[in-house]
Point group: C2
Chain length 496, copies 2
Amino acid sequence: MLKDFEPKKHEDKQAIAVQLKELRARLLAQQQLLIKAKLPVIVLIEGWAAAGKGSLIKELISEIDPRFYQTVSPVITPESEERYPFLYQYNKALPENGKITFLDSGWMESVVQKFLKHEITKEEYHRRIRQVNEFERQLRDGGYLVLKIFLHIEKKEQFNRLQALAEAPETEWRVNGNDLWQHKEYKRFLQAYDEFMSKTNSTIKWHILDGSKRKLAVHDAMDLLVMKISHGLENGRFIGEPFEEKFPLIEMPALSEVDLSPTIDDEEYKKELKKLQTRLTELHNIIYRKKIPVILCYEGWDAAGKGGNIRRVAYPLDPRGFDVHPIASPLPHELNRHFLWRFWTRLPKTGHICIFDRTWYGRVMVERLEGFCGEHDWKRAYNEINEFERMLTDWGAVVLKFWIHIDQDTQLARFTERQNTPEKQWKITDEDWRNREKWDMYEVAVDEMLEKTSTRNAPWYIIESNDKKYARIKTLKIIVKALEKACDKHFKKMME
Amino acid sequence: MLKDFEPKKHEDKQAIAVQLKELRARLLAQQQLLIKAKLPVIVLIEGWAAAGKGSLIKELISEIDPRFYQTVSPVITPESEERYPFLYQYNKALPENGKITFLDSGWMESVVQKFLKHEITKEEYHRRIRQVNEFERQLRDGGYLVLKIFLHIEKKEQFNRLQALAEAPETEWRVNGNDLWQHKEYKRFLQAYDEFMSKTNSTIKWHILDGSKRKLAVHDAMDLLVMKISHGLENGRFIGEPFEEKFPLIEMPALSEVDLSPTIDDEEYKKELKKLQTRLTELHNIIYRKKIPVILCYEGWDAAGKGGNIRRVAYPLDPRGFDVHPIASPLPHELNRHFLWRFWTRLPKTGHICIFDRTWYGRVMVERLEGFCGEHDWKRAYNEINEFERMLTDWGAVVLKFWIHIDQDTQLARFTERQNTPEKQWKITDEDWRNREKWDMYEVAVDEMLEKTSTRNAPWYIIESNDKKYARIKTLKIIVKALEKACDKHFKKMME
């Protein structure tokens, strides 16, 4: 890749200036077409320190209406990076449909820098490369136009530029220790950039541009961008094919096979509840200190008892360390982004617990059944979700998923009770009755979901909830056990 | 206040337990009514370290459906506090209509702690108290139900609790240096809390509860909350009266008096543009290092040339240090909060520039004229906006507001040109034509806005834009001059 890069020898400055003007006009015109076609664009500019990444972005955006783009300069700081998964900030920066995000360095710089600084292990390095490939594929499959540019300069050129910056009083502050370190380690960086690019060059190709010729680099970047958009406009929104990677799955029973008869008597319930909640309080303290993130996912039939179950889990937790995210229909700005975006942006910090009251599985249930997304979209989602959750557990998160299960008779009884109890009427809507009619369709979808997404790292648990109290105790037990295991594992890992 | 606090002597534990149960049931029922009445609630729990703030919140939320509340534990860290205005994180935490935010300590603790640590001057301390009063009044006037509780314990009790926490291995980590310091300085804190509460007790009253009796404190807090909500539900959403504080205003001409004939010739334009943009690049570097936040506000007639003007200002800026926020109609979750919320959450960090393409002045223009808010709301807004902007400039921000001005003939000419030029047609909509018909109404509103909100600290500039190039140069000159002044002032302040 980088080692074989041959800069263009000739540079016809006049021709470039003329073409650049034309390209700018085209980009300006494309803006409106992007909005109409609802195509989102991501432009990632990586490259050497002092190669001119910022200036390049400045030129690319100079003619575009500020309403249609954002520029993002990710920082590698403890707060933004260390307490969230590696790809968190890049996911957060995803543009809405019709808009463009320009990234002034991104996931490549982060991985390479941390690896060369020995802040991540070789194993983690390879894991991140895999995650980057998954991320880029998910973006492409979700209809994002992604352009990746590496701005290259030779060591000598970098020296001259850093010197010029460092010796002028008004720019001196711009040269930081990282830049100088990179320059000293130019060869190692070259090697590492090269390797990173080679390993992330399949779904979305890298483009290496010569940073030493500023005008030419602007021209070439603009040309690539205009071509990319033009291609996207002609072909329409890309929709990825469904595919199935082999994830280690846990075999799940069909819902119809689940025995819903288990109950618990009141005395036993009270005793167990108290014991488990006390233990959960202790464990919350420990995971907070060990900085283990915990993600609890609730799905289930209407009136299955999700709300009451969540309350029993939340009650013993320190309010400073947990959040409950009720998930309703997406808002316009959420609908205009990758379907996982609104979950990425709600992830907990390390050491925090977050409870999702309904989740990203809406994709393969309501969105599938109501036609809110295409067939390819929901079929592809099983794999996308498995990748998403693996990324969470690789990050160190405990991910537990509960299907709160009841049978149709129990639902009917609860619906009827809600209807007849004034203070519960708000809980029941016409939509609930309509959904109830689609029970069989939903059951097919849920069975398929449980079958395809109960991975070893992020398993599903079917919670028999005809007896709500039984369901609460079972859920609490699963959580307590999983947190104990996580704390234990965490200690073992530290002792290695 | 705190000094005269007399704890209740008798505590009928059984009666309290019974009442508490009733209160919980009432709160649960109120939840639905809050949603229907679209009433937002803020519960601020302040108090001594180890007084049991977290546990109190835990009890308050234990029966509420997690979909209807959030708990927030503000932290006083450089990132969240120092690089944003003091009230930023509390504004960010505002609940949506119908929901409740519980704050585990908030603006009181922040002000008192920073003051006692000498991290803010006496002057700044008083300024923050004023800002708190303004903030609370704006919340109340905007229909928020605000409950402020101080959880009190005696010094001896605090000692016992801190000791118990510190000596148990699993809770030891919870006692931090701040807590110990507060305990040592108990008397000074008592004095400071007392003063703070006395000075912020007019719009929204403080309630002091005895933290040493846990059950009683929960009961009393729950009782206060239920009463507050009950009162709110009975009386409906509160709408504050308009009022006018005296702000030092700059006299503005009526729009009809503005001479729109100034022009600039092409050669002069190019020369000036280059000079000013070069200077702006330098100044952006300086304000970035000096950490001066800059907020540029654009308002103006349709087709007045805002977009092109903004582009000329943005072009010389480093993309890493600025953002453009195009402001369209509020999204549902924005509409469901205080009208300034979506601007609070978009404020720049210190050292960054942000450009608002349309602003919070929509309140006194489109919202006023289209009836999107009540008469009291927009009449009150002049003052609320002046307070908001004073808070920004007190924080150290440069706030400049531009009214991009043209006459009706020029607008017609530009509309017609847009209509007749295929690549510009997207810029013109039926709504633009409809708005044009309301020119006279808008002119009245704009005149009133300019008259009432051109404060010395955040002045309006009318930019004559019949000649767009003239307008750009004038805007750039104003920005350059203001930034130079700010850098200069910043240096002088440091030298004091």
